[in-house]
Structures are given as structure tokens and as C-alpha cells.
């Protein structure tokens, strides 16, 4: 085990410089793609690889590229989404910090495939060091002739620009990102039209996550079919997982999709088990916006199958007993953690980050935060739990962009699986201030609340 495609050379000293990266076989994919392949061939390879978007939604990247409109005389753009701000996810920052050139290489290959001559890397404003690192990498690549006019004598021109964001979570939503990139207020657009038809400056645009773009490098080097051999069914290749929480070895791990969740948590190669010999209580497998899983649903699905790190297996059971791969923000909770407090913390984040454009999200996120704060500080009533359920139900699916869903799902899942703990907080307000509930009584899967 432990195959690495993206992080293969992570430990080589100086890998963030062009020369060392090149010595380790870097920019081979650019040479191969530009000199021996047509743009259609590159798209075909990515389709064959089965690569799915690594930003959260898991939409097949090759298919997304296939949707790109190609009208005559209109420029096309590739935009890399580096606005990574999901609580619990820090893989893109890690990748950009340590191996910026794999992103630049991926950008060149992907831009070539899409026929884009200008591409943008939109990086979250708080990541100032990473912005400088990526800018330096672009300058080095340009000096070496991999960017600019007539790259490697093939006649293909490409410029890559880095655009720092203003630090808004909502600008990670692709249309809000495009608005922000155009210099406007970062409000998500109403779809349709989708960016593939009318995106940046009204031109056809593809927006891809940092990791998705980086993954095109091994796909071109080894071939899409080789990449598709890794993983299970429709979850192919490797994935970066940002592991955090009460584990012995937090950090960014590259895993083969299909790895059992249990192995990922307890194997010494990865998280190394729960810290301080505590018991596992809950898991958020894909970043703050995906539903939380209670201990009894982590290593096995409700049908008794082993739960694997794949898009399908993590979502097995739907929202009643499953969760989602999301962006790979793997947050582990031990028995000492308070689910109510954690849910409040997430709700506070979404309240703060709602753009305020559509009413359910603007008003609902704030309302949920206030109620959760009330319960957490011992002033809640039993009706508040049902009220919370009602609010999240009326936000979900009724908003312009997925931020409303992302705010609603964690609250829904916390109530669904940890209702006991919410009730205990309300019935024992004094005790709840001084200690935590501990492990919940959820040996059996709890029936979904209707």
C-alpha cells in the first residue's frame, strides 16, 4: 500500500523549485501532451481515467470538460479553484506549499486540453505564502519555456495568472468565484447558464479544484487506463485526505480510493488511531458541510458492509445513515467531544459566510446559529430541536447555491444521530456546562427522523 501519485516526491529537498522538480521527472506530462497528443486525446485520457472532481461534488472531470462550449472566435478559460476554506480541509494548501509545480504542470496540460490561452489560479486571500509560492513557480516555469508564447516550439501559447481572493468561503462556489475574479461582489450566479456555456467574462469556462488539476499529471504520464485501475468502481485513483481531530497522526495523506475507513483511522501508516486511548465517537468524513457519522456507522454501513473511502461507500445509506466524500476533510471526534458545541461551531461558520443573496440561507443560517448557541449555553427548550429540524429542512434545496445545503446537512445529521445528546443538554443545563455527554447510546442505527 501507500502508492503515491501526487505526493511521490514530497520528501525530496527543494522539490518546490523548478530544477529539482524537473530532475524528478517533472513537466514530462507537458512534453507528452503538447508534443504527441491532440487536445481531444488529453480530454479522452481524462475521461478514461474516471477522475472525479476533488473539490467536493465529485462530478467526473472528463465529462465536465466535454460540456465546454467551443464557439468560434470566443476565448475559453480554465480557472483553478484554490479558494480552499472548508473547515477540516487543508489538502490544496499542502499541495501548493510543497509541490507547486505539479499544479502549474497540471494547469498547462488542462489548459491545452481545453484550448485555453489564459488561465487563472484563484487562491484564497488568507493563503498569502502559498500565493507567493505559486507565483514563483509560474515565473520559473515561464523562464524555462513551459509558459508564454510558443511553448516548447509547439505553437501553443499560455499565460497563467494568480488571483488572490478576499477570503470569503462563498468564493469557493464556482460562479461566485468567477464573479469575484471579474472584480465584482462574490455572489453566486443563478444557473443556468452554467460556466461551461457562459462563465468568466461571459465566455465558456471550466472551474476545477487544485487537486483535480494536479491529478491530470499522473493521468497523462501513465495513461488514463492505468489511473483507472486504482480504486473501486466509479471511484478511481488516489485522493488527498486532510485528517484532523483526535487522532495520533493528523496530516495530509494520499490514499488509494477504496481503502477501508477503519484502516485509515487505525493504521499506523495513516491516522494511527484515536489519541490518548480514547474511544471513537463520531466522524465527519468530508469537511464541515457533510453529514456527521456516529461511531456505529463509521466502519460499517447500515447493511453491514465495510465502509470504504470511496464516493459511493461513504454515501451509502443516503443522508439517513451515510455521509459524503466531500472534499476529504476527515475530522475524527473522540468520546470527550461535544456534538452540540461542534454543530454550533459549524453553524456559526455558515452564518458568517452566507453571502446574503437569497432569503432562506441569509436568515436561516443565523437563526440556526442562535438556537444552537442557546442550547449549548443551557437555555434551550425541547421544542428548539424540532424547530432546528424545521429550519434546516426549509433551507435545504431551496437556495441559489449549495451553501444553504452545506449549512443544513451538518445540523440535520447531528440531530438525526445525536438527538439524545441535544436533549441531555436541554434537560441538564448546569451539568452540560461542566462536562460532556460522552459516548451516545447509538448501538443501533437510529431511524431517520421525519
Amino acid at each position: 500500500m501507500g502508492r503515491k501519485l501526487l505526493l511521490e516526491h514530497i520528501d525530496v529537498p527543494g522539490i518546490n523549485t523548478f530544477d529539482v522538480y524537473r530532475q524528478q521527472g517533472g513537466y514530462r506530462a507537458v512534453e507528452k501532451a503538447l508534443k504527441t497528443m491532440s487536445p481531444e486525446d488529453v480530454v479522452e485520457e481524462v475521461k478514461k481515467s474516471g477522475l472525479r472532481g476533488r473539490g467536493g461534488a465529485g462530478f467526473p472531470t472528463g465529462m465536465k470538460w466535454g460540456f465546454l462550449a467551443k464557439p468560434e472566435g470566443v476565448p475559453r478559460y480554465l480557472v483553478c479553484n484554490g479558494d480552499e476554506s472548508e473547515p477540516g480541509t487543508f489538502k490544496d494548501r499542502y499541495l501548493m506549499t510543497h509541490i507547486p509545480h505539479i499544479l502549474v504542470e497540471g494547469m498547462i496540460v488542462s489548459s491545452f486540453a481545453l484550448g485555453a490561452n489564459t488561465s487563472y489560479i484563484y487562491i484564497r486571500g488568507e493563503m498569502m505564502p502559498q500565493i507567493r509560492i505559486v507565483e514563483k513557480a509560474i515565473a520559473e516555469a515561464k523562464a524555462a519555456g513551459f509558459l508564454g508564447k510558443n511553448i516548447l516550439g509547439t505553437g501553443y501559447d499560455l499565460e497563467i495568472y494568480v488571483q488572490p481572493g478576499g477570503g470569503a468561503y462563498i468564493c469557493g462556489e464556482e460562479t461566485a468565484l468567477l464573479e469575484s475574479l471579474e472584480g465584482k461582489r462574490g455572489n453566486p450566479r443563478i444557473k443556468p447558464p452554467f460556466p461551461a456555456i457562459a462563465g468568466l467574462y461571459g465566455c465558456p469556462t471550466v472551474v476545477n479544484n487544485v487537486e483535480s488539476i494536479a491529478a491530470t499529471v499522473p493521468i497523462i504520464n501513465d495513461g488514463g487506463e492505468e489511473y483507472a485501475k486504482i480504486g473501486i468502481e466509479r471511484s478511481t485513483g488516489t485522493k488527498l485526505i486532510s485528517a484532523s481531530g483526535n487522532i495520533i497522526r493528523p496530516g495530509v495523506y494520499e490514499i488509494d480510493l477504496g481503502l477501508p475507513v477503519e484502516e485509515f483511522i487505525y493504521s499506523d501508516e495513516y491516522c494511527g488511531g484515536i489519541a490518548n486511548s480514547k474511544k471513537l465517537k463520531a466522524l465527519v468524513p468530508g469537511g464541515s458541510s457533510v453529514p456527521i457519522l456516529p461511531a456505529n456507522l463509521i466502519s460499517k454501513t447500515v447493511n453491514g458492509n465495510a465502509r470504504l473511502m470511496t464516493y459511493e461507500s461513504l454515501a451509502d445509506g443516503g443522508f439517513a445513515t451515510g455521509s459524503s466524500m466531500g472534499s476529504g476533510g476527515f475530522i475524527v471526534f473522540d468520546e470527550d467531544q461535544c456534538i452540540v458545541r461542534n454543530t454550533w461551531n459549524f453553524a456559526r461558520f455558515y452564518h458568517h459566510e452566507s453571502c446574503g443573496q437569497c432569503s432562506p440561507c441569509r436568515e436561516g443560517t443565523g437563526w440556526m446559529e442562535k438556537i444552537l448557541h442557546k442550547i449549548e449555553t443551557g437555555r434551550g427548550s425541547i421544542e428548539d430541536i424540532d424547530l432546528l429540524w424545521d429550519i434546516q429542512r426549509r433551507i435545504e434545496g431551496n437556495t441559489i447555491c449549495p451553501l444553504g445545503d452545506a449549512a443544513a446537512w451538518p445540523v440535520a445529521a447531528a440531530i438525526r444521530h445525536f438527538r439524545d445528546e441535544f436533549e441531555w443538554h436541554i434537560t441538564h443545563p448546569q451539568e452540560a456546562l461542566s462536562r460532556n455527554y460522552g459516548l451516545a447510546h447509538y448501538a443501533d442505527p437510529i431511524e431517520p427522523v421525519v
Binding site: 443563478i190 452566507s354 446574503g356 437569497c358 436568515e363 437563526w367 426549509r394 433551507i395 431551496n398 441559489i400
Partner: protein
């Protein structure tokens, strides 16, 4: 047949209508009219790009089109979804839609001060109508409401941000009708506020139209504020030869005095023509105008002798107990009014 233009057939709550391709579901419903027209707080047909934000016009598309009959997975904003041939849409015949709309109304009201008794918009307020038709009798919100200071936008318009539902209509007016963009949204989420950038007064010939497009009482006419309740004034259509606008307005009389001048509004509360500030604020003598006739006001409007709206559901509702239950409030109210 050949010279006939292409029409798409769309069925809304069981009522078919043929509309031109590119029409939105909302506008198709408006062509049918009646109870099945989704309410719209932010969409304004005369402002490009408006709509999609308030989510009150959500509808269920139970059949996508003749070619692709799959239903749409989520409720869609009818103001920004175009019709397809053979589309079937459910508005008040879908319990899901009625419930979602009730939720939206609740969200819109949790931070609204509900100061209707002292609000100039009362009686012609879209949020009041919406709350009356779809809202609950009691709020479940027990926290402090967000508050702002009142701001004067120029010497004729006052912004009362507490009442604002952030529909963005005034932002589009400032963008599209005037040539100096000083009006927009500051901040984010439920702290968002309409602002003229750092309270710069808007001095522009058409900025008065923000009052007409505002669905609530957030933007009010300072020359009319607290002068009278709208239902005590009598609207009369009038026109004059105006060098900058169409000059077609509605005058609001109390006795022999013109208290207020507004654009002429249609049955969906949208003005027919935008009017200039001179007509709106500075021309309040009957002698300035050529009077036409008393304005036709919807019979359900409070301005027209305190009549409230009777709910006349399509026949499908009568047969289906689930739908009856979903629309129970409206049915009960109609019953009470009889």
C-alpha cells in the same frame, strides 16, 4: 400554419397555456393569472437580471419537457427558469411548494420589524400580502432583530434598512436607470445592507424609482412620509408633457390635494413606465396634470374598500385531501370571509 411562430405548451397546476420560447415559468403563470401565479418579491420584469433571490416563487417541475420528461430534482425559482415544450409545473397543487413558500415567508419576517402600523408602505406592501397569504399567525423567532439607523438618500428618499428584504431591485434600478453607480450592497449574510457608498447622497433624475420598485417600506418618499395612509387616498391616472420621462403617473389625492405621485403600477405591482424625479417629487398641483380617470385598483387591494383576497383554488385541489390540507389556511380564510 407555417407562418405561425413556435409556441411552447406548459401546464401550470393543470391549466395549459401556450407561450413563446424563452418565457419564464412565472411569466407563463402570469399569462394564466389568478391563484396559480407564484408571488415574486425580487423579480421585476423591467429590471434586467432581477429575480432568483427571494425564493418565494419556488415551484415544482413535475415533468421537464416532452423530450425529457424527468422531473427536476429540486424546487426551482419560477422567475429564472424558462419553460420547455410540454413542461408540467405544480405551484399551489404541490404541498412541497406550499410548505417551502411558508418557510421563505418565515425567513423573510424573522428580521423584519413588523412595524406596519407606522409604515407608509402598509396597504400596498408585497410582504404584507405575502405574510397574509402564506405566513404563520405567530413567529417562532425569539431573538433580537437586526437593526440599522435610518439613512437619508438625498433629500427626498429615506432608507429604512430594518424593513429591507434585500431583493436587490433598487440596486438594479440604480445600475440600469441612472448613470452614476453609488448604490449597492455592503457586507455579507444577514448583516448585508443597502447603501449608497458611505452614505453619499444620490442625486440623479431617475433615482426616485427605487421607491416604486421597493416591495416593502424600506425606501420611502420623504415628501409623503406620515402624510396619510394609502387607503385613505384616491389614485387617479394622469399625464403631463415631461421633457425627461413619459409623464404617465398616478396621482394620489386626499380631498383636493395631491399627496403623492407614483408610476402607474400593473396588477403585479410593477410600474408601466419609470418616471423622473421632477414628476414624482416636485409636481404636486392638479393644474400641472391632465387627469385621465380613477386608477383601476385590484379588487382584493385594501386600497379598494378593504376587500381581501378570496382563494379560488383550481378544481384539482377540491378532489385531493392532501392538497386541501396543504392549502388549509387559505381555504379557511376564504371560508371566514364569505
Amino acid at each position: 400554419m407555417a407562418e405561425e411562430e413556435v409556441k411552447f405548451r406548459v401546464t401550470i397546476d393543470g391549466i395549459p397555456v401556450d407561450v413563446a420560447p424563452g418565457t419564464s415559468i412565472l411569466n407563463a403563470a402570469r399569462q394564466i393569472g389568478g391563484d396559480i401565479v407564484p408571488p415574486a418579491m425580487c423579480y421585476y420584469s423591467k429590471l434586467e437580471g432581477s429575480g432568483g433571490k427571494c425564493r418565494t416563487c419556488l415551484v415544482k417541475v413535475s415533468k421537464g419537457s416532452e423530450k425529457d420528461p424527468r422531473p427536476m430534482p429540486k424546487l426551482v425559482a419560477s422567475c429564472r427558469t424558462t419553460v420547455m415544450d410540454g413542461m408540467e409545473v405544480q405551484n399551489i397543487t404541490s404541498p412541497e411548494v406550499v410548505d417551502a413558500r411558508k418557510g421563505v415567508v418565515e425567513f423573510l419576517l424573522i428580521n423584519h420589524p413588523l412595524d406596519c402600523p407606522v409604515c407608509d408602505q402598509a396597504g400596498e406592501c408585497k410582504l404584507q400580502d405575502l405574510g397574509y397569504e402564506h405566513g404563520a399567525e405567530q413567529t417562532r423567532y425569539e431573538f433580537g432583530r437586526r437593526t440599522f439607523e435610518r439613512i437619508d438618500i438625498g433629500d427626498k428618499i429615506q432608507l429604512h434598512m430594518n424593513r429591507c428584504i434585500l431583493c436587490y431591485r433598487c440596486v438594479y434600478v440604480a445600475n440600469q436607470l441612472t448613470n452614476k453607480r453609488e448604490h449597492g450592497i455592503l457586507h455579507r449574510g444577514d448583516h448585508s445592507e443597502i447603501s449608497t457608498y458611505i452614505e453619499e447622497a444620490l442625486d440623479n433624475d431617475f433615482i426616485g424609482n427605487v421607491i416604486d420598485v421597493c416591495p416593502v417600506g424600506a425606501l420611502t418618499d420623504k415628501t409623503f412620509r406620515f402624510k396619510n395612509r394609502v387607503w385613505f387616498t384616491k389614485p387617479v391616472d394622469a399625464h403631463r408633457d415631461c421633457p425627461s420621462c413619459s409623464g404617465k403617473v398616478t396621482l394620489w389625492y386626499k380631498g383636493a390635494d395631491v399627496l403623492r405621485v407614483t408610476g402607474r403600477k400593473d396588477e403585479f405591482g410593477e410600474v408601466e413606465d419609470f418616471i423622473c424625479n421632477t414628476c414624482r417629487f416636485d409636481t404636486k398641483q392638479t393644474s400641472d396634470w391632465i387627469l385621465e380617470e380613477p386608477t383601476q385598483v385590484d379588487k382584493e387591494s385594501v386600497i379598494n374598500s378593504n376587500h381581501y383576497y378570496n382563494f379560488s383554488p383550481p378544481p384539482v385541489i377540491k378532489e385531493n385531501p392532501v392538497l386541501q390540507e396543504a392549502n388549509a389556511e387559505q381555504l379557511a380564510r376564504t371560508e371566514k370571509l364569505k
